[in-house]
């Protein structure tokens, strides 16, 4: 057990990194080492906090202090004032634009107050490059539960009952999609993750892949179990180098732990994941075009039917889901059927996220 008294979490998402959060992280580490505090203060990089407009973000725990727009040269002041003397650095705290009050606890900020984080549950909280932190937040429990306690049918049933709908935008019921593929005959089937996020201003897939890549890997394996496929493919745009890097690290760690590969959890289910890079064609986010692109053909949509669940990648039955859809799966399985039904109104006409502000519904 670590004897750390304090954790300093620095955002390592693309938004904050482009405002020099990586040199901020280095500076914080150096300051901590110079004062021989490395045994007491843990400085680490996390995924995106979501508040990129005020990045780089630094969060200090357990004081629950949220610093915004921190520059690399502020590292010294944070360590000297906050970490050593226990005095908060007021000028770096978030200022409520209406009342000009400084807010330390991010949960009291207007931006975070109304949020319940399901898909983003671990973003900005864990180190995305450390599988242990994901596991200690119930990571891979849902996969373990599905493989050892549930049948593919009952797992699909839970997903159907949850009312989860495709988060890529079309909102097709996810459980139903899985059922279609599972009923398609054939020994060889594929699970595809659509990470070709290209809508202007939409970064939810990137946030998840950069902040919590294991949640996607775990769910793809669950989907593989439900549809009896052994091969997963992530189609990710090459413009997301950081997401690709973190995903690679995560896949490597999952293989090392035996959570991907042969006979997962001692069952006879085997599953592995590979990456495919998109060359930046917006249309390749459409599932038939995406499949053609993965096959090495021209990335152009074709008319459905046949649906990918019947004839997809290499004309084999294929389940294509969006990144965020996958990130929602583990909590659904762990929270028992219906656990999250509340957040998905039955008659929703608009998908949860859309790039247009006035139409986006984060939570009802």
């Amino acid at each position: 057990m670590s004897k750390y008294k304090m954790h300093v979490l620095v955002c390592g998402g693309t938004g904050c990194r482009s405002s020099a959060s990586d040199s901020l992280l280095e500076n914080l580490k150096t300051e901590v080492e110079e004062r021989n505090l490395e045994g007491e203060v843990q400085v680490l990089m996390t995924g995106c906090f979501g508040f990129c407009e005020k990045g780089p973000i630094v969060k200090i725990m357990p004081d629950n202090t949220f610093y915004t727009q921190v520059k690399p040269e502020d590292a010294r002041e944070i360590i000297k004032e906050h970490i050593i003397k226990g005095r908060k650095v007021i000028r770096l705290l978030y200022e409520n634009p209406e009342t000009s009050e400084h807010i330390t606890d991010s949960e009291k900020m207007g931006f975070y107050r109304k949020q319940i984080r399901i898909a983003l549950r671990n973003c900005g909280f864990i180190n995305p490059e450390n599988i242990d932190e994901y596991i200690s937040r119930d990571g891979y429990m849902a996969l373990g539960k599905a493989l050892t306690e549930l049948t593919p049918e009952s797992t699909i049933d839970i997903v159907k009952k949850s009312g989860l709908r495709g988060r890529g935008g079309a909102g097709f019921p996810t459980g139903l999609k899985w059922e279609f593929t599972s009923k398609s005959p054939g020994p060889e089937k594929y699970v595809v993750c659509n990470a070709d996020e290209g809508d202007p201003g939409a970064f939810m897939d990137r946030s998840i892949l950069e902040g919590d890549p294991h949640s996607v890997i775990e769910s793809m394996a669950i989907c593989g179990y439900c549809t009896s496929s052994n091969k997963g493919l992530v189609y990710i745009r090459a413009e997301y180098p950081l997401a690709i890097e973190r995903l690679r690290i995560a896949i490597g760690q999952a293989r090392e732990y035996g959570l991907l590969g042969e006979n997962i959890f001692g069952t006879n289910f085997s599953f592995d994941i590979d990456l495919r890079y998109g060359a930046g064609a917006f249309v390749c986010g459409e599932e038939t075009a995406l499949i053609h692109s993965m096959e090495g053909q021209r990335g152009e949509p074709t008319v459905k039917p046949p649906f990918p669940s019947v004839a997809g990648y290499l004309a084999k039955p294929t389940t294509v889901n969006n990144v965020e859809t996958y990130a929602n799966i583990p909590p659904i399985l762990l929270k028992e059927p219906g656990g999250f039904q509340q957040s998905e109104p039955k008659n929703r006409k608009v998908p949860k996220y859309s790039p247009w502000q006035e139409k986006s519904i984060m939570l009802d």
């Binding site: 057990m1 004897k3 008294k5 357990p62 629950n64 226990g86 949960e107 864990i126």
Partner: protein, 132 residues
């Protein structure tokens, strides 16, 4: 490296790792735990607040008491350092002065565990701008 061969393996691994993130999880939910603020300004450090803080962190963990121990600046009671402020969930904060390790032990055993008040409480005799 450990390979996860069964669900039991994963659960065991998770239990072993729990400590890693406890600090962060407690921070999010500080209101439902005992909160202890140790005054760690120059006056506090000079009187040994650091040792008391380390003692509290270790002992509370050993005695299975869920508490968030953080440090704060000078509270103005420099004559009575080391000082700490203890807030039990739903109760008013209480400030203790002259807290050495023996006193810290007494605070854990008597006040935190049983709610008994002990010697050395500094009555709050000021108002802050927030209370006005």
């Amino acid at each position: 490296m450990t390979k996860v061969k069964s669900l039991a393996d994963l659960k065991k691994l998770k239990d072993n790792l729990q400590g890693q993130l406890k600090l962060r999880e407690k921070g999010l939910d500080a209101g439902s735990h005992v909160q202890i603020k140790v005054a760690m300004a120059t006056c506090g450090i000079a009187s040994g607040a650091k040792g008391v803080m380390d003692f509290l962190i270790e002992e509370l963990d050993k005695r299975n008491i869920e508490a968030v121990v953080t440090q704060t600046g000078c509270m103005g009671y420099c004559y009575a350092e080391p000082t700490l402020e203890v807030t039990k969930p739903g109760e008013e904060p209480i400030v203790f002065g002259y807290v050495d390790i023996r006193k810290a032990d007494e605070i854990i055993e008597k006040y935190i565990k049983n709610g008994e008040l002990i010697d050395g409480i500094i009555p709050q005799n000021y108002e802050t701008i927030q209370n006005k």
